[in-house]
């Protein structure tokens, strides 16, 4: 009972987090690729509820930034003119979930730019880029996990079904893939693929790459599940009653693999999100100007950014709650699969 509640709470929180990222257009005040050349490297702005005199304001406000005299990227707060945040205001157009054209944003401040997490070298809002970057990274992780699991399902059940030589060859191949340090393998294959490609191509390339490299572990797991399921008494009984191979697979064997697949998915998705982040961080993944959690961080490879613009590090925290969620989800699914503990 406790593990069931854990599962539901965990799924609800993860669902909420994914919802925010999926509706990034609504939750972010700006378009992720719009440049504000007047505001490069603006520091994060704090949202206040209490003004300097200690009075509470129902509507939160912030102090707009002003350029320092004579500097091009040093700012100071203009505390004399607080600007209140507007909620559900119209702003730049976007497509909700990629379909619904809208221009309502959760918050914004009209003509005064509000950078919750600061802005980057082109004056793009980091908060918006973080939310939109999540779309790319999470989608890559989910699709790659789906791909790896489908490969694993097909190859694993094929190996279990074939047995003998076919099984031996497939499992030796899987061992080969597992033997390599997987990041090196990913790198090696990426090395032989074209480097300068459009963002969409790069995205697909990465998804296919990660998904293909990752087939081995799920394949081995599914093979062992199918092998043990094949020998169950009820499966033998069904076979004895004349059930066909397809029927057995559909009704008895594949449902057995479902819980393993789900647990694997919960383990693989964060791993593959991280793989995308790593590749994009190193410039081998989704290229600018499209944001991803990886290429958002790549500016930190410059020493000047490290010394002066620490807020470029902030978007990286976005992935942590997702990883926590998936970790708890995986353990809850595992508990459920193992049945109640005595």
């Amino acid at each position: 009972m406790r593990s069931r509640r854990k599962l539901i709470v965990c799924l609800a929180i993860l669902g909420g987090l994914h919802f925010v990222i999926a509706c990034a257009g609504f939750f972010s005040p700006y378009d992720p690729t719009t440049q504000n050349r007047d505001w490069p490297y603006a520091p994060p702005m704090r949202i206040h509820w209490f003004d300097a005199a200690g009075h509470f304001h129902l509507r939160p406000f912030f102090y707009p930034l002003q350029l320092h005299e004579g500097a091009f990227n040093e700012y100071q707060q203009d505390t004399t003119h607080p600007v209140t945040l507007n909620f559900f205001m119209t702003g730049p157009r976007y497509r909700l979930l990629g379909i619904l054209p809208l221009h309502i944003h959760l918050f914004g401040a009209g003509d005064t730019p509000v950078f919750l997490l600061g802005s980057d070298s082109y004056g793009r809002d980091l908060f918006s880029r973080m939310l939109f970057g999540g779309q790319i990274s999470l989608l890559a992780g989910l699709l790659a996990a789906g791909l790896a699991l489908s490969f694993g399902l097909v190859i694993g059940s094929l190996a279990a079904y074939l047995g003998g030589w076919g099984d031996e060859i497939l499992m030796r191949l899987a061992e080969l893939f597992l033997a390599l340090p997987w990041l090196y393998l990913l790198f090696a294959i990426r090395a032989f693929l074209p480097l300068a490609v459009s963002p969409v191509e790069a995205f697909l390339l990465i998804v296919i790459l990660i998904g293909t490299v990752g087939w081995a572990r799920p394949a081995r797991l599914i093979r062992s599940v199918v092998l043990s399921a094949k020998e169950r008494d009820y499966v033998r009984a069904a076979r004895g009653f004349g059930a066909t191979g397809g029927y057995l697979l559909r009704r008895h064997i594949l449902p057995e693999t479902l819980s393993v697949m789900l647990t694997q998915a919960a383990i693989l998705v964060p791993q593959y999100v991280l793989a995308e982040v790593t590749l994009s961080f190193l410039g081998l993944g989704v290229p600018e100007p499209v944001p991803s959690w990886g290429n958002l961080l790549s500016s930190l490879q410059q020493y000047s950014v490290l010394t002066s613009y620490w807020w470029m590090y902030l978007p990286s925290f976005a992935m942590v709650p997702f990883f926590v969620g998936y970790l708890i989800l995986a353990s809850a699914l595992q508990e459920r699969a193992e049945g109640p503990k005595i």
Binding site: R172, E175, L176, A179, L180, P181, W182, L183, Y184, L185, F187, A188, I189, R190, A191, F192, L193, P194, L195, P270, L274, V277, T278, F281, L282, G283, L284, L297, L300, Q301, Y303, L306, T307, W310, Y313, S316, F317, M319, V320, F323, V324, L327
Partner: protein, 320 residues
Amino acid sequence: MRYILNRLAHAFFLLVGVSFLSFLFTTMAPGNYFDEMRLNPQISPDTVAALRAQYGVDRPVLVRYGRWVASIAHGDLGFSFAYGRPAAPLLWVRARNTLLLTSVATIVAWLIALPLGIWSAENRGRLPDIAVTSATGLLLVIPDLLLALGLLLLAVRTGWFPTGGMVSVGFETLSFIGKLRDTILHMALPVTVLVLSALPILVRHVRAAMSEVLGTGYLRAAQAHGIPRRTLLYRYALPAASHPLISLFGFSVGTLLSGSLIVEVVMSWPGLGPLLLEAILARDLYVVIGGVMLSTVFLVAGNLVADVILYWVDPRIRVA
């Protein structure tokens, strides 16, 4: 002895498989080092063709594989197009640095993980256990990229540690002690990241293996005989729990190698990682293959060491 030979043969076939697989991938590659050269108007097509023929890029994959294996016999590991010299010397220097980083990280990680895991298993369900489990859980969800960038940011802003490279300027002039101190200071950050990223899995496995052993009847009997706690834990329980942990040792080498790739790039540690990245961006084929091969060799060697230790520790394997 047959067991060890068996493992050696297995490792050998693994390496052959990996090398052949990476060559196979190169044939699927659309483009190579010379394609980019062809775009350069200052280099005539004839020169490119001559270079292609010289390096044998236009040959079928099996021929190239054969030549590559032959070059291993010469100790060359293929040829770096970008550097214009054999790949092996390039790779060796970098591999040595990677090895230094990962071996220190492995030792430190195990030295921390063992007592921590044992302590946690001993106090199962009590405060120390909860503290250790939640701390490792937290570490588990923070990716090493984040950890590396965060520590680098900290180092840059506080100036407590050098922020890149392996040695300071003027390293050659230092005394031996000074050199040692300088290298250790430069290693501190990357090793910390690697240890922190490897630690949660190690601690959890040590804890699981130890709590299983601590629950057995013979240990409770030993406890009832009044054997002191420390002897009980380290002399009786740990050897009994060592089997899965030694296998884990081989696995941890692989994790640390993958981790060190990204940590090296972030912290500009002159190891295999940055070299590999450069080679990928320059399409320097043999350096990429060599880097992957070397890392595989390290991994396989780590597993072999684990197998040998297992053979030495566990009499059941020797008999079987």
